[in-house]
């Protein structure tokens, strides 16, 4: 028990600061956004993909037929592979699916659940997985600018589509700044030794405290940045764009529906219909 606990604590404390490489994270996120612009998925029209996504985000919730759900799941699995999504994103996906449903099963066992509990939970997992993979295909497969153009077309507020591309612009800068502040703590701070279990707990608390405290300098530094950014945005006509219909039209004029988009939809429909058919035959 003691051993298992200390192992968990070990994992915990290592996860937070030591093994957690900001560079790795940044690379994965940026790679996910811009590193796969030449895939089949990335070349599709964002509007088509968004409609496609809405279908797979909603339908699984209303259907309880396993073969059909499995069919949908396989389809989104294939599209996710086609989108060449970064490893980190898949990892977060797996984590999310487990944390949403895996632990429920364990708890329901405690409350007198049995094998009959497994099936509904399995179905639930399948639903969650399908919806998540569909969202990964669309939101990770598309490059952010095409995605925000697509959203803009559907009338999503301009502020959000601006936020998306600005977030990608800011991310490397913010992370570097955060990293530097953390490094200041690392170089100048004096973390408690973490050889014993108590030490590890103290170390973990120390790390959490450092992260919290590092937001004090981070907030001030980011405030300075935000000021320049917003002034520059005013000078560069951001507000003009928000109120000018013409700008929207120009922005959206780059969107084109092509034959590949039809093909994509046709194949998806075919696949879904086939799964439905199979499900009726079983």
């Amino acid at each position: 028990m003691e051993n298992a606990m200390s192992k968990t604590m070990n994992k915990l404390s290592e996860n937070v600061l030591d093994k957690f490489s900001m560079d790795f994270l940044r690379n994965q996120v940026l790679k996910n956004a811009y590193g796969n612009t030449d895939t089949v998925i990335a070349k599709l029209d964002p509007r088509i993909l968004l409609v496609w996504y809405v279908f797979f985000a909603l339908v699984p919730w209303f259907v309880n037929n396993v073969p059909f759900l499995l069919g949908c799941f396989i389809l989104v699995l294939i599209t996710t592979a086609l989108a060449r999504v970064a490893g980190l994103v898949l990892f977060v996906f797996a984590l999310g699916v487990f944390s949403q449903t895996g632990y429920l099963f364990v708890v329901s066992l405690l409350f007198g659940g049995d094998a009959s509990t497994v099936l509904p939970l399995l179905i639930l997992t399948l639903k969650v997985a399908t919806v998540s993979l569909a969202s990964i295909t669309v939101f990770s497969g598309l490059d952010p600018d095409r995605l925000s153009n697509g959203l803009l077309w559907f009338g999503v507020p301009e502020r959000l589509s601006f936020s998306i591309s600005y977030a990608y612009r800011m991310l490397p800068m913010l992370m570097e700044e955060f990293q530097n502040v953390l490094l200041s703590y690392k170089l100048r701070g004096n973390p408690p030794s973490h050889d014993t279990l108590m030490g590890k707990i103290r170390y973990l608390i120390y790390q959490v405290k450092v992260i919290m405290q590092s937001f004090y300098p981070l907030m001030l530094n980011t405030a300075k940045r935000a000021r320049t950014t917003v002034e520059a945005l005013e000078l560069r006509g951001y507000r003009n764009a928000a109120s000018n219909k013409e700008v929207r039209k120009i922005m959206l004029s780059s969107l084109r529906v092509q034959y590949s988009d039809f093909m994509f939809i046709a194949i998806s429909v075919l696949w879904v219909a086939l799964s439905a058919l199979v499900s009726t035959l079983i």
């Binding site: 919730w61 984590l95 977030a167 917003v230 439905a276």
Partner: protein, 280 residues
């Protein structure tokens, strides 16, 4: 050129606050998404580690852009960037975070009054957690067929959610929201505002909004979120009822094909509308 009357800021200052809140909370939630280990035993701690960021900012600046910025930041950085956009769940998160932050920020008239700052931070977190726990329960109910009939499931859902709520409140509310907010607000007050060209908040220029009005907004928002979830549930049972009525797999397949055809029709209309030139 509406100067600082009633804590109001100019449009560009609001944009600065929005950008600040979005960047910081967004970055923070990006990390949260990657910290799996706080799942001790069977209970998952969906701790809002970084809710103190928008809470602090909302107590120092105009709460509305802070609330919207934080919610947008989470949506963009942790949901869209990592491709974890679930749809309904994220909208619920957007609403609950925005409402909680806005209310907590508006309650504080004088950031120097630590008692009010602490209370607002704690109850802001509690509000957010309560709202999302409720929606969570409804979500599971809605997704699992014959929720009540599955042995042990309802109890386990209620127990887990209840336990998680209590735990999260303890962790989020005290450790990760109350303490950091109490640490940050007095340190930042009077320092961060001039960086954005604003006056620090004092009781005289604090954001207006009577408590009653606030509660009203909160209740409407919350009821809205609940109603949203309930309507979805009703929609589900409707379809289930139809499915029972047909009681045949073929009908489901036909139904799906019909849905697909509808989608195709929508697509066709959409394409026609957007680029005729291309098809010609």
């Amino acid at each position: 050129m509406s100067a600082d009357v009633n804590g109001g800021a100019t449009q560009s200052q609001k944009l600065m606050i929005f950008v600040l809140s979005m960047s910081l909370y967004g970055l923070a939630t990006l990390f949260t998404e990657l910290i799996p280990s706080f799942q001790v035993g069977v209970v998952e701690f969906s701790v809002e580690f970084f809710l103190f960021i928008p809470l602090t900012l909302a107590m120092l600046f105009d709460p509305l852009p802070v609330a919207l910025g934080a919610a947008t930041g989470e949506l963009v950085f942790s949901e869209i960037m990592l491709g974890q956009f679930g749809g309904l769940g994220e909208l619920e998160k957007f609403l609950t975070v925005a409402i909680a932050v806005y209310i907590a920020g508006t309650v504080v008239k004088n950031p120097k009054n630590m008692a009010v700052v602490g209370t607002a931070a704690f109850f802001g977190t509690a509000l957010q957690l309560a709202m999302s726990a409720l929606v969570d329960i409804l979500k599971v109910q809605f997704a699992v067929e014959d929720f009540e009939a599955v042995a042990g499931l309802p109890e386990s859902v209620f127990a887990t959610e209840g336990f998680a709520f209590a735990n999260d409140l303890l962790f989020s509310g005290i450790l990760f929201c109350l303490l950091p907010t109490l640490f940050l607000v007095p340190k930042l007050h009077g320092k961060i505002e001039p960086l954005l060209g604003m006056q620090p908040r004092t009781p005289e220029n604090a954001p207006s909004g009577a408590a009653i009005k606030l509660m009203l907004v909160a209740i409407i928002g919350f009821v809205g979120a609940v109603a949203f979830a309930l309507v979805s549930e009703a929609g589900m049972s409707l379809i289930e009822w139809e499915a029972d009525w047909v009681e045949s797999g073929t009908a489901i397949a036909v139904g799906v094909i019909v849905a697909a055809i509808i989608a195709i029709v929508v697509l066709a209309v959409m394409m026609k509308k957007s680029n005729k030139k291309d098809l010609a």
